[in-house]
Amino acid sequence: MIEFKGVKKEYPGGNVALDDFNLRIDRGEFVFVLGHSGAGKSTFLKLILHEEMATEGKIVVNGYDFTRIKNRQIPYMRRSLGVVFQDFRLIPTMTAYENVAFAMRVTNVPERRIRSRVPYVLNLVGLQDRARSYPAEMSGGEQQRIALARALVHSPPIIIADEPTGNIDPELSVEIMELLCAISKVGTTVVVVTHEQELAAQFHQRTVYIDKGRVVSDSCPVPSRPTFLAHGTGEASR
């Protein structure tokens, strides 16, 4: 699914963000990637998204080997990822509905399918009533959930969430994490990049610690079933 093998990333100016970075995340796993500011989390994400290229080493995401990937393949690789950005990255000129639908439109999904799927996903994140609102008219938490809906809408095999709870209140944070856990149960790989150790600790999932550009710890999940999974979350939990 996601494989980093001996990856080094050195930025112009000599700043080494990742060095001999090795990590393998398999299908259906739920992984927290933890680290302090400057540990290399953002570079890790940028490399997965092919926003930056590794200086050394091999990266494979969903079968796309980044040492061999062609420019025209990059959009298709990105479509296999659902990304929730820390700063949401919603298109300000589009309504919540349009923002979510856009991720389907780029993959040429027929309009009829978009019309049925988008309201369903908006309902899943509890924002069916905000479909016509623009990002500027919504709170940080609502925007975060729209970003999550956009990441989920085309059912990608990998969901990557960058500080998904960074801009929302603790109650909503748990709700969003519950949703992500439920999604991973149906075979979707979920990678949550965060600096909130307490949040990660609540969910008993695989946790990877990054420090100074290297994986310093990779703990296995505690074999217990979190209580929140009992609630179920609609289509994604089926």
Partner: protein
Amino acid sequence: MSISGFRYLTKQGLSNIARNKLMSFASIGVLTACLVITGVAALMSLNVGKFVDYLGAQNKVIVYLKLDADDATIESAKQAIGGVPNILSSTYVSKEDALNETKSWISGYDNGAYANVLDGYEGDNNPLYASFRVTVDDLSKIKDTVAELAKLPGVDFVDAPSDLAGTLVSLKRAVNIGGWGLVAVLAAVSLVVIHNTIRITVFARRKEINIMKFVGATNGFIRLPFLVEGTAIGLISAALAFGVVSGAYIGVLEAVSRAGTGWLSSLYFTIVDYNSVWSLLLGVFLVSGALIGGVGSAASIRRHLKV
């Protein structure tokens, strides 16, 4: 790309014009201004060219026949002149016509004080030459034409405004090079200004483009709405510029036609007719507007697609 996808992106491009009102307004304003300036320069160049042609046509070459030329000689000279290349038209002026013209000219001079000075020069006493007044087609070849006319049977000598013709030829060349050069420079300046305006528009929306890239949009998918938007802005600007230039041109034509007498009224027949130029003007405006707007905006986003 599916038809519904194409329809969606086209709609997006058109609605982006309304969404980005300020930048759309700025782009339309700049593009319209550039097209108006370029159009006015092109029309002026066309008109100056036509005026120079008109001046050239006013300058006649006079082919004087020998004093003893009889009717047969005159007829054969007429035939021979018709066979010389570069002749647009020729008019025969008999000895009598020449005398009458001269009398008419003299009688108008100094309140008719010399009106009778040519009395008695009629008939066999007429000292004036019969002639052909010839208009040449291409003034730049006037010297060769005059040389050929001088060799014709029955011709005594040829009077031609060769120096003036040379001046007019140079003037026309200057108008062609200067006028169209000015149009080219203005078009180039317009392109730079429009390119920068579109770049600012695109720069303001770089975040939007960036987001599109990260949700997996292909470059073509991102570019199409910008292409539609740019082309639509170009076509709107072209229509506005056509309206402004046409209105102004028709206004000038009406002012000249109302002038009645004087030098301004004499210009009327030398001005390029609106009916013969409007379709060309509209076509050039629409094509260049659509190309500048469409290609300009599609090219401007290229830099932001490299993510």
